[in-house]
């Protein structure tokens, strides 16, 4: 199975230069937290929220095959 | 310049160093007013650890009023008259060696005076001469 991870804001800097999206191939479903620490090695420090299909999810959310997960960095906004 | 260093293996936790420091700086009997700390023994090593200032001067740039500066001797000092008591230096000190107490407006730190060294019965503290740079 594969999951698409998209970075926004300062999380982009932990992705390869110029990329805001990576496709992760998984043998079995894993929570977002583990995908970030174990598969991508970028950690969850400073991860404020996870958004899947326009919905807020916790960092323990387990994405389904083909789902896109948006990583939201902390922001106070205006 | 001189910096305060420790031999944790020699410490018998008598706290004479803290008492001497607090007395010298504030004429106070409270050990919390000493400009160094002894952290409890680590069960793994059986040793205490000392929190002491190495006069790195990192705090100088964090002070909004330039109340912290390096004296000619190389030691980093706080000008208490200039200090506005914001405690930025306390939080940003990389060694946790800038201290504050609620009844004092200004933070305080070690100035390598050596009083603690003289009071230590076991030689667990000493002053070492290091290159200023």
């Amino acid at each position: 199975m594969k999951v698409i991870i998209r970075a926004t804001g300062t999380f982009r800097e932990r992705f390869p230069q110029g990329q805001d999206r990576v496709v992760v191939r998984l043998e079995r479903p894993l929570p977002v937290k583990e995908i970030l620490t174990e598969k991508l090695g970028i950690g969850t420090e400073g991860l404020a929220a996870v958004v899947v299909d326009g919905q807020y999810k916790s960092r323990d959310y387990v994405p389904a095959d083909g789902e896109e997960v948006i990583l939201v960095s902390p922001l106070g906004g205006g | 310049m001189k910096i305060l260093k420790a031999r944790p293996e020699a410490c018998n936790e008598c706290y004479a160093c803290l008492d001497a420091c607090a007395r010298a700086r504030f004429k106070a009997a409270e050990r919390e007013k000493a400009a160094l700390r002894i952290a409890p023994r680590d069960p793994a090593t059986g040793l205490v650890s000392f929190i002491t200032c190495n006069q790195c001067g990192e705090c100088i740039d964090y002070c909004p009023v330039q109340a912290i500066c390096r004296a000619k001797s190389g030691v980093v000092r706080i000008d208490r008259d200039r200090c506005v008591g914001c405690y930025s230096c306390v939080a940003f000190c990389p060694r946790g060696a800038m201290f504050m107490q609620d009844d004092l407006n200004e933070p305080f730190k070690c100035i390598s005076c050596g009083k603690c060294v003289r009071e230590c019965p076991t030689g667990a503290l000493y002053l070492e001469e290091v290159n200023k740079n």
Partner: protein, 720 residues
């Protein structure tokens, strides 16, 4: 004393000697009243009732202004006042973001009361000099300076005499006079504005502080609503306060221990986490540029779009290389969030100071988005140049950016042309034209003179004088209540539409910024959820302006475990800090619920104030359609998939085979209806009648049922 003034070459017009006494529990317990018409200078007591109900800061400003003006008062009438107050917490040095001043006056662009929250050292030094608020009424004949010497205990109104008209030069001159030695400089703060404030309605006020590390004077801006324009109408050149002796207990806290604990806790949090969160210490609010662009909410081309391929040129990666690094960039002592950055050595390419090398304070996010992306300008040097000139001319960058973008759209649509603009080619991205427009505004000449009237008046002028379609201009001119929009595209967030539209002063994000909770995270899906957010957050944020606090240390840094708390958007641990700060300073023990009620009283009072000035009812909460949805075919088609899907899924309208115009109309009908339903829900939650007027029960509950308030409200409440 008189000799000293003579040495300064200034004639003293009036003076007051006052006894010095310490601040007690956050209050000096008196306010300084200055009347520039009859040159009266008075000390007024601050009453317990004022402290109980209005707290300080914005609350005090509203209370003094309410008593000073009638429903007929206009912004340039002598009885209008400028009130500056820091609030009880303002001036503590242990907690980040605690040096704010709040300016309150009747606004030239909205016609009603405006409040603007600003950094710099003026508010705290004013309080330590012995004054909770400075209340200025009347109008001088010739330019004056009001000088408060907080160590000598003397206030003087001085003839300003000849001198420069722009902020950076005025401040330089006044620092030489009032702070002749290097040691004096940090004890002096100047409030001033520039030539732009004199010739436009969007003038702002610069509040200074001295940057000891770089040895330059820095400024922060009370930007919104034309406070600088009122200042110049009163013929004030500058306010100067001097107070030497700020210490950790200058604010006279009731229990300093509580403040210390909260301060150390937040300082440590910032030290440990800021690098991994918003990096305020390194690049300030500029981090928002990329995030807003990523989520399609960065205003581009007068809010038509939410992103642009060139936006990265203005993001924090660039500013990291351009800002001068500094470890103590707070705009008041102890602000370790330290977002007040500066770009050194900018060589000016245009205008009266062309060729000079200057330091530019900022830019901050709002300025980058306002004078940058919203005008289609993506060249950072142009953004710096616009920022510098707006600051020194005393012009609000947010309003300037909106006006320019609006005129650029009008120009590209052919509503105005080079004949009307006097040769300015106001196309999106034309930085040169934007700068020339700004210089004209400052000189009060040419098309700039017209532009300086603000978007609301421009809508009318362009329709009346140049035959423009008034309805179209209303749709695309980004102002509500006469105030230009701050810089977030609210089209896809109903809650944010309300966050802008249902404000007291006009669309400024400092009341409610719900766009992320609502649009990106979808955490407040129902009308009730949104109404609750539009109750809680505006009240919570109002509290900062009552106390002299900055919003940023609330949620631009959060504890490591904040995401795992019940309500991450509220940042529960920081709310606890505020409760402790307030009781630590004032000795009044409060709960986090009290904090909301305190704000609610002042917030509702401000709503009633609007009513007094002829606004404050439902029709004044209307917004331009572009803040609700795509106003043009071009906008619709740029995000056609999104809008088609919404029509089908939400509005029950099949877009198949329909023209863009038909779809645009259907979407508009749906979205305007949603906005009205939101208003109903929010009014109910806030305790207001369906026409937007606070009910008598609400006034009683909040203890603001003063006889004149009740009489006014009764006239406007719908009959039962």
């Amino acid at each position: 004393m008189r000799e000293q003034a003579a040495a300064k070459g200034r004639k003293i017009l009036a003076s007051l000697d006052y006894p010095l006494r310490p601040v007690e529990k956050g209050y000096a317990n008196r306010s300084l009243y200055v009347n520039l018409t009859d040159r009266a200078i008075l000390s007024k007591p601050v009453t317990d009732e004022m402290k109980e109900i209005f707290i300080g800061g914005r609350g005090f400003g509203l209370w003094y202004l309410w008593n000073a003006v009638t429903e007929k008062t206009k912004w340039d009438d002598p009885e209008n006042e400028i009130v500056i107050s820091a609030g009880p917490i303002g001036g503590i040095t242990q907690y980040p973001g605690a040096g704010k001043s709040i300016v309150v006056t009747l606004s030239p662009t909205t016609g009603t009361v405006i409040d603007s929250n600003v950094g710099g050292h003026f508010g705290p030094l004013l309080k330590f000099s012995g004054w909770d608020a400075l209340e200025i009424q009347g109008q001088a004949e010739k330019d004056v300076i009001i000088f408060i010497d907080g160590n000598a205990g003397r206030v003087t109104i001085e003839e300003a005499g000849p001198g420069p008209g722009d902020s950076h030069l005025i401040i330089e001159q006044l620092m030489d006079i009032y702070a002749p030695t290097e040691e004096d400089k940090r004890h002096v703060s100047v409030v001033t504005t520039g030539t732009g404030a004199e010739h436009t309605l969007i003038g702002m006020l610069n509040f200074s502080f001295y940057d000891l590390h770089r040895k330059i004077v820095r400024v922060k801006q009370a930007g919104r609503g034309g406070t600088g324009t009122v200042f110049r109408a009163k013929k004030i050149r500058a306010l100067v306060v001097k107070y030497a002796g700020v210490k950790g207990d200058s604010n006279g806290p009731a229990d300093k221990k509580k403040i210390n604990a909260a301060g150390i806790r937040l300082h440590r949090e910032i030290a440990a986490l800021d690098d991994r969160q918003c990096r305020m210490r390194r690049t300030g609010t500029t981090y928002l540029v990329q995030i807003m662009n990523d989520h399609d909410i960065l205003p581009v081309h007068n809010f038509k779009f939410g992103s642009h391929p060139d936006a990265h040129r203005l993001n924090d990666r660039y500013w990291r290389t351009r800002f001068s690094p500094g470890k103590a960039d707070g705009c008041w002592y102890g602000c370790t969030l330290a977002c007040a950055h500066v770009a050194m050595e900018h060589r000016l390419k245009t205008g009266p100071y062309k060729g000079q090398v200057v330091a530019v304070d900022g830019p901050e996010y709002e300025t980058i988005a306002g004078v940058g992306s919203n005008c289609g300008i993506f060249d950072p040097d142009s953004v710096l140049e616009l920022n510098f000139y707006c600051d020194t001319y005393g012009i609000d960058t947010i309003s300037f950016g909106n006006i320019t973008a609006f005129l650029m759209e009008c120009f590209e649509k052919g509503i105005i042309n080079e004949k009307i603009t006097g040769g300015l080619k106001l196309t999106f991205g034309n930085a040169e034209a934007a700068l020339e427009l700004l210089h004209q505004m400052a000189r009060g000449e040419g098309f700039g003179r017209l532009a300086g009237q603000g978007v609301r008046r421009l809508k009318r002028i362009l329709a009346e004088q140049y035959g423009a379609d008034a309805a179209f201009l209303q749709d695309i001119g980004m102002e509500a209540k006469g105030l230009e929009y701050s810089l977030y595209v609210s089209k896809e967030s109903l809650a944010q539409q309300g966050g802008y539209g249902l404000t007291n002063k006009g669309p400024q994000h400092d009341e409610a910024w719900l766009i992320f909770m609502d649009m990106v995270l979808n955490q407040i899906p129902t009308f009730e959820d949104k109404a609750e957010a539009l109750y809680y957050f505006p009240m919570f944020r109002t509290w900062f302006s009552l106390n002299g606090l900055c919003k940023l240390p609330w949620n631009d840094i959060v504890p490591a475990d904040n995401a795992d708390t019940d309500e991450p958007a509220k940042v529960p641990e920081h709310v606890e800090n505020y409760v402790n700060l307030f009781s630590g300073v004032t000795g009044r023990n409060i709960t986090k619920e009290d904090l909301i009620t305190m704000s609610e009283a002042v917030y509702n009072f401000q709503r009633v104030f609007n009513l007094k000035m002829g606004f404050g009812t439902r029709e004044h909460d209307a917004v331009p359609y572009r803040s609700l949805g795509p106003a043009t075919v071009e906008e619709y088609e740029s995000r056609a998939d999104r809008y088609d899907r919404q029509l089908k899924e939400l509005a029950g309208f099949d877009p198949e085979g329909k023209s863009t115009e038909e779809k645009l109309r259907a979407l508009r009908k749906y979205r305007e209806d949603q906005y009205q339903r939101l208003i109903d829900a929010v009014y109910a939650r806030r305790g207001w009648a369906a026409n937007g007027v606070p009910t008598l029960e609400t006034l009683k509950r909040l203890k603001i049922d003063f006889p004149d308030v009740v009489a006014l409200v009764e006239k406007h409440l719908p009959r039962q």
